[in-house]
Every structure is written in C-alpha cells, then in structure tokens.
Symmetry: C2
Subunit: 371 residues, 2 copies
C-alpha cells in the first residue's frame, strides 16, 4: 500500500529534509514529519508517520465564470457536490487512535478529540487503510471566522473523498459514494451528475444555493483523471467579508478585493443587479470591521478575535492551545475559559491579531506613515 | 547656486549612473537625466539639465490621527495649507522656455503647454532661479482619475512652495507667501498658523473641509527644520475609491483597503457614525467599478479609462502621447480625438489597463485560478 514509502522514500525524504521542505512536528503525544511545501509530486501538507505517507489534499482550482468555465475545464460529465465553508481535514487511523490532520498537515487536537461525536470511527476497524477527506464546519471551531448558516452551534463533519494511506488520489466517485452510504457517513450534499452542455441547469442550481446562503459547489469529472474545479455563490463572498471584517488589517488586502471581484463576476453572469441592501452590507462590513478593531485597540491595546470550541477531553484542549501558541507566537493566544459544562469541556480563547495591533499602536499614537 | 553641481556632482552622477539610478530622458525636444530612485541625499525625481539640478519634491508623511499626530510630529506652531487632490509639479525656466516636471522627474508636455494659461510665467524673468512647486488639479488632466469638486472643467494650478535651482529645501514660509501675494500667483488656500495645543480648532477646520468635499491639509512647522505632515478628510477616501473604482483591478488592493482604514480612523476620531448613505456609497463604488470593468471587457475585449485634456499647441499633445506610450507600452494608449475647438486643441485618449484586461480575458474565458 505504501507506494512512496517502499523503495525510494528514504532518499526522497533525505532530499526534502536537506532542502528544508520536511519538518519535524510534535503536537501532544504525536511525533511525525510534515512537508512544508510541494516537493516533486508530493503536495504540501503530506504527513509522514514512521514510513507511512498520508498524502496532502490537492489544491482545487476555482472558476469565476460558470458558463465558460465548465466547457473549458471538463471533457466528460461531472458530479456536483456542495462546497462547505469550513476547514479541510484528513482522518486516518494511527496505531490505536484515529487522528485528523489539517490541510497543512498538522494533527488537529480539536478535530481529533471530537471525531467520536462526528462520525462512526469503528469504520477504521474494517478499513484501516482509509483516509477520509472531510470539511469540518460550524460556529464553534478554533480556525475559521465564518460558518454555514445552517449549522447553529458546535461543528459538523462532511466527508467528500476517500484516500488510502501511502497513496495519492481518491477512490472512484461511485465507490466513495457507495461506502459513504453503506456506513451512513455524514457527507457533503450531492447534486447529481451533469453533462457539459447542462450549464443552464447548473446555473439554476447555483442560484438556488445562493438563495440558501450556501457556499458553492465542487465539480468532479466522471473519468479516470477525476479532474475537479470549484465555483462559489455571490453571497458567499459577502459572508466571507462580513465574517473576516474583524480581521480586516490582519488578512492581506487581496482577500477582500478578490471577493469583491468574485461577487461582481457572479452578479454579471447571472444577470443580477447589486441591490441597495447588498451595497450597504458590503460597505458596512468593511467599515464596521475597521471601527470595531480601532475601538478594541483603544479599550485593551490589542486587537483580538474570540474563538469557542467544545472538547471531550481536557488534554486535547491543552494540546490545541500549545499548538496554537507555537504557531502564532507566545502571548498571542489568551485562554479565557476552560471548564466542564454538561457534556463537554468548553474552551474559549482569544487570538491576538499582530498586524492590526501593531498598526493601531503606531497610528493612534500619532505616528507617521509614508504611502 | 548649483550647490550639488559645483564640486563633486561629477563623481556623484557617475556613481548613480553606474548603479542604474540615473536614467537618460527624452521627451519632445528635451533631453536630460532623472534620478529613478533616492540616491544618498538626492530624492527620486530629481532632474539634471546639463549640470543644473532640479531637486525632487520630498515625500511628506501622513498622520492618521490628528489629536495625537500633531503633538507627536511638531515642536513649534505650524502653518496649515489646503491639500489639493491633483498631481505635483515643479516649474522652472530652462533656457528660453518654462517647463513643468512631474513628481518622478518627467517633463510633462501637458502642464508645460498650459503654463501660460495657469500662471504669469513672466515671473521667471525676474526670478530665473526659482522652482515653483504646485498641484495641478481638475477633471481634464492626463494622469488623475479624481479631481476636486470645486473645479468644474479643465485644470487649475495651486502653488504651495518655492525651491531654487540646484538647491534642496524651500524658501521660508513667510518669504514664499510674500512672493505669492506680490505676484498674485494662484496658491493653495491658507488656513493660518496653529499652536500645537490647538488640535480642537484644527479638528473643527478639518470637519469643515470634509463637509466641503475637500481633500485635507498639509501642516508646515514654523521653524528652521520646516517639518511637514499631511492629514486628509474622511470624505476624500470615499472620493478616491469612487474615482478609482474603474481601475479596481489595476491598482494594488492595498490602495482601496488603505482608504477604508483611513475613513474608519477619521470617523472614530471625530465621533462620527458611518451613515447608511456612506456605507452604500462605499459598497456601490467597489461593486460598480468591478461590474463596469467586466461589461467593458465583454464589449471591447479591453478595460480602458478615458482621459481628456486641452492644449495650446498640437506638438505638446503629440509629445504627451509619445511619452505615455513609452511609459505604458505600445498599444496601451489609444488616441480618440485631437482637434482644435474654440480656444484649444482637445485631446481625448484611452489608457488600456493591462491587469484587469488580462484578468478578465482569463477568467471570463473560463480559465482556472488558484488562490
């Protein structure tokens, strides 16, 4: 099974390490290695446990024009699945435990802790070779500022692919769907199979999803090459801007301008005029985000963002905090609460946003800027 | 007079040229050299005609917080002048002609052509050593997308400093004002002398300018060091965004996000709430700019921006076009009209915006993007 790990993985790993593309990771009790960037055919985020490779989840290109993008990208009919606004994980069994890796290849102590609440982990007894690829979404998560409106609390999990340990690529779509149904796994909603000339029907679907404030779709070609693209709704861009406005000077300016571009392209393609409500929501998100950050700095000399999540085990919450402290820098993660409540431990913490904190410290103090 | 040009200018020029910081320039009949970036004490935009230095106009820092910025920046009372939303020129006599240089040190064929309409150029007979520093503003200019609302057509000129050939630095403020009045030169509006503890009065002034849709102020310390800072009104940021929205994918994303930050800081400092009208105007500028660019690309496979200006002499219009073609690239400047009308030649031309043109070509054709 471990294709890469078999013959030349030793020299590959030695090369990657020498070039600084392979880093040692320690999170909680887990020690392994992680590809910090693409190296030959190995994607960023590939994790190596002993000599077992868990391949990184490949990047999926986005199209910004549905009617032209579909025929430009696909040669065969394709399956359409809902794109969920969360964070990507790969779930697999390591020894006796089931772990969840983030996109970049870090074991996520939060997701790992919650797996028994999110899916029937016993499937790994029957399929120890599986790597389930899924989105975790919901308002109570340690990474994302936005979440789908149809998840009122905590998080949910949506499986959309099955990989195998030591192998790149996915199980064929029909096999994957068969297994998801067989085990009753929580899956990303399916919208069926479309021919390339069915762009109008697809446009109708995406407008329906837009009306329901859903994020968009991922299209997977029904062919051996399994080509994929993603396309998002107009509304998802406003959702993103609203959710991220609190981090307005932390995120790169391109984050916001890119979403304004996507929204404009969506409106134009689907023959929609921007409404006064939409314009005001856009202007409001940008201005309110700035004003809130300024007021927060003036009150507590920091710009921070509050996160909440639930844990089954206290140690996992502590390992998450340790991991975030190492990733973001000491003093940048402020635990506000960690206590048992009803069914879970409740963790609340703030992340300090260093860029707006530094910026407002300078300019509110009357410092000069050159631009 | 030519301080720098006297003893060691030869070796300085040789060094700068060797490092690629000094470039030969030819615009129309004018041949000279230009510092393409700062070199020792010589600012970018410094021009060298023969052995005469016309020093570059120094950069002026901006403060984003009036109440703290004034005491942080100034040690002495300061003069307050209006900041005009145009482009910076330096005007001086070269042989028998009077020339205008842009900030970056290019002879501007448009401004040079129009000088007799804009100021009494005979002053250079009495003061051949002068370099007048001024803003040119108005809707009919070849560079800026925005212009002050109080200039209905064509352009006007506003002198705000006097330099001397071969010398950095400015004439003292009182001398400068004396000369401007003596010759009746068109000048940037003056708002008087403020003490450092007069921030409330200054705040009142800036809110008045904001109400009149003016851009802001430049403060010049009444001292030998002549320290300067600038501060703009909240409304000027919305004006900038509206005027530049047509170039929304041409300008860096930071252009827009920086102005949203400045607007937020202005509102917060002056105790103003963002109104529904302001939010809608902001959202509208960003969305309308994107939509117009998309529609323009779909109509003519280019995103362009129309400019209009008036000339006294046809040759100057042709030299401007030649200069812009060289600066922007062949085929990026499309002359739409050049003909005599009433009192002047009327030039109309389009600049092609290469970034949105390339972007929309790719994405409207269905091309994939990774982000």
């Amino acid at each position: 099974m471990n294709t890469v790990a078999s013959q030349d993985s030793g020299s590959l790993i030695a090369d990657a390490r020498e070039l600084g593309h392979l880093a040692d990771v320690q999170i909680g009790p887990w020690e392994y290695r992680r590809f910090t960037r693409r190296f030959h055919a190995i994607p960023e985020g590939t994790a190596v446990f002993g000599d077992t490779f868990i391949w990184g989840y490949p990047r999926i290109a986005r199209i910004l024009r549905l009617a032209n993008g579909i025929p430009a990208q696909f040669e065969q009919p394709f399956w359409v699945e809902e794109k969920i606004d969360g964070y990507n994980v790969r779930i697999f069994r390591h020894g006796d435990v089931v772990l969840a890796l983030t996109r970049r290849g870090f074991v996520c102590p939060f997701t790992t802790d919650r797996l028994p609440d999110l899916l029937p982990v016993r499937i790994f007894d029957e399929h120890p070779e599986w790597v389930l690829c899924a989105e975790v979404a919901g308002p109570e998560n340690p990474y994302n500022e936005g979440s789908p409106p149809f998840i009122a609390e905590d998080v949910k999990l949506f499986v959309f692919d099955i990989m195998q340990r030591g192998q790149p690529g996915f199980l064929p779509w029909r096999d994957k769907q068969g297994w998801l149904q067989h085990y009753g796994l929580p899956a990303a909603p399916q919208y069926g199979r479309f021919a390339i000339d069915e762009a109008p029907a697809l446009a109708q679907l995406i407008r329906k999803l837009d009306g329901e404030r859903r994020e968009g779709i991922v299209c997977k070609e029904d062919s051996a090459r399994d080509h994929r693209i993603k396309y998002v709704t107009g509304g998802s861009n406003i959702n993103d801007i609203e959710a991220s406005a609190a981090s307005i000077r932390q995120l790169p300016p391109e984050f916001f301008m890119q979403r304004i571009l996507r929204l404009g392209l969506f409106l134009e393609e689907h023959g929609l005029e921007p409404t006064a409500t939409m314009k005001e929501a856009l202007g409001d998100a940008l201005l309110a985000g700035t004003l809130n950050a300024i007021r927060q700095y003036r009150e507590c000399h920091k710009v921070t963002r509050r996160y909440r999540c639930r844990f089954r085990e206290r140690a996992h919450a502590e390992w998450l905090i340790e991991f975030l402290e190492r990733a973001l820098g000491k003093g940048q993660v402020l635990v506000r609460r960690l206590e048992w409540e009803g069914t879970h431990y409740r963790l609340e913490f703030d992340k300090v946003l260093p860029k707006p904190t530094g910026l407002f410290s300078h300019v509110l103090g009357g410092g000069p800027v050159f631009d």
